[in-house]
């Protein structure tokens, strides 16, 4: 955290190379976020690079009293991903894929298929649910941090994540046959 603030101060004092510290620290979580919030055919690295560039341009407006740098950066990334999604998929009509049965003989193939379907199911979630789920489950952020990024309260975050988990749960627990 203090390392981030030191780097930011140096960048604002025209030491551009200090920005590398921030890029190297956040490139992996940022790419994970972008890859999971945009369609598979998106130029993920290009979007992540745009997010870093936007952060560099607006660095003077970052206020450490309001939020951590990571929260600020993820907010820029989340909004950029939402724009990308709206641009690429103006009509959101995707449906959840058919449930795969893990009790089938070829379990490894079933798992690969299940992961593909989980990816598709994540892609089909409404953006608010998907974003809250990815930030909390994949990025490991607290509900408070997710709320700050999403601009909503902790209760709303919890309910969005619960709804997303419920939809993904359907894929992991195919309906048991009634006896």
């Amino acid at each position: 955290m203090n390392d981030d603030l030191d780097a930011i101060r140096r960048v604002l004092a025209d030491d551009v190379e200090s920005f590398r510290h921030l890029v190297e620290r956040y490139q992996r979580p940022l790419l994970t976020l972008v890859r999971n919030l945009t369609p598979p055919n998106t130029d993920h690295e290009g979007v992540a690079q745009d997010v870093f560039l936007a952060a560099f341009r607006c660095l003077a407006s970052f206020d450490p009293k309001r939020s951590a740098f990571s929260t600020w950066l993820f907010t820029i990334a989340r909004n950029r991903c939402r724009n990308e999604l709206a641009r690429k998929r103006p009509v959101v009509g995707a449906e959840l894929p058919e449930v795969v049965d893990l009790r089938s003989p070829d379990r490894a193939a079933s798992e690969a298929e299940l992961f593909r379907q989980l990816d598709a199911a994540l892609d089909a979630l409404p953006f608010e649910q998907r974003s809250a789920f990815v930030l909390a489950q994949l990025q490991g952020l607290s509900y408070e941090e997710v709320g700050q990024i999403e601009g909503v309260g902790v209760g709303t975050v919890k309910s969005r994540i619960a709804r997303a988990r419920e939809k993904l749960r359907c894929l992991l627990h195919p309906a048991e046959p009634h006896s």
Binding site: R20, Q27, A48, A60, L138, R169, H173
Partner: protein
């Protein structure tokens, strides 16, 4: 939820950054034009006192212009 499978999927979703990604970002950052006077303006306007002063000046200028227009009808 099936925790084992779920955790496997979560790990799979974690993206590794390419080795040259930071270099590419820094190249793009270096190509950015130097910070202009707009940055100074943003810094200045981030202070509440400066914002209040700017509003007061704008209001005074507006009132002065309105008075100048109204004065046209009363000068004679």
């Amino acid at each position: 939820m099936n925790d084992e499978l779920f955790n496997l999927w979560i790990q799979r979703a974690d993206a590794e950054a390419p080795a040259d990604f930071a270099d590419r970002v820094m190249d793009a950052v270096r190509r950015e034009p130097p910070r202009s006077s707009k940055g100074v303006l943003v810094l200045l306007l981030s202070s509440p006192a400066v914002r209040v002063a700017a509003c007061v000046l704008a209001c005074l200028a507006c009132l002065y212009r309105m008075a100048a227009v109204v004065a046209v009808f009363f000068i004679r």
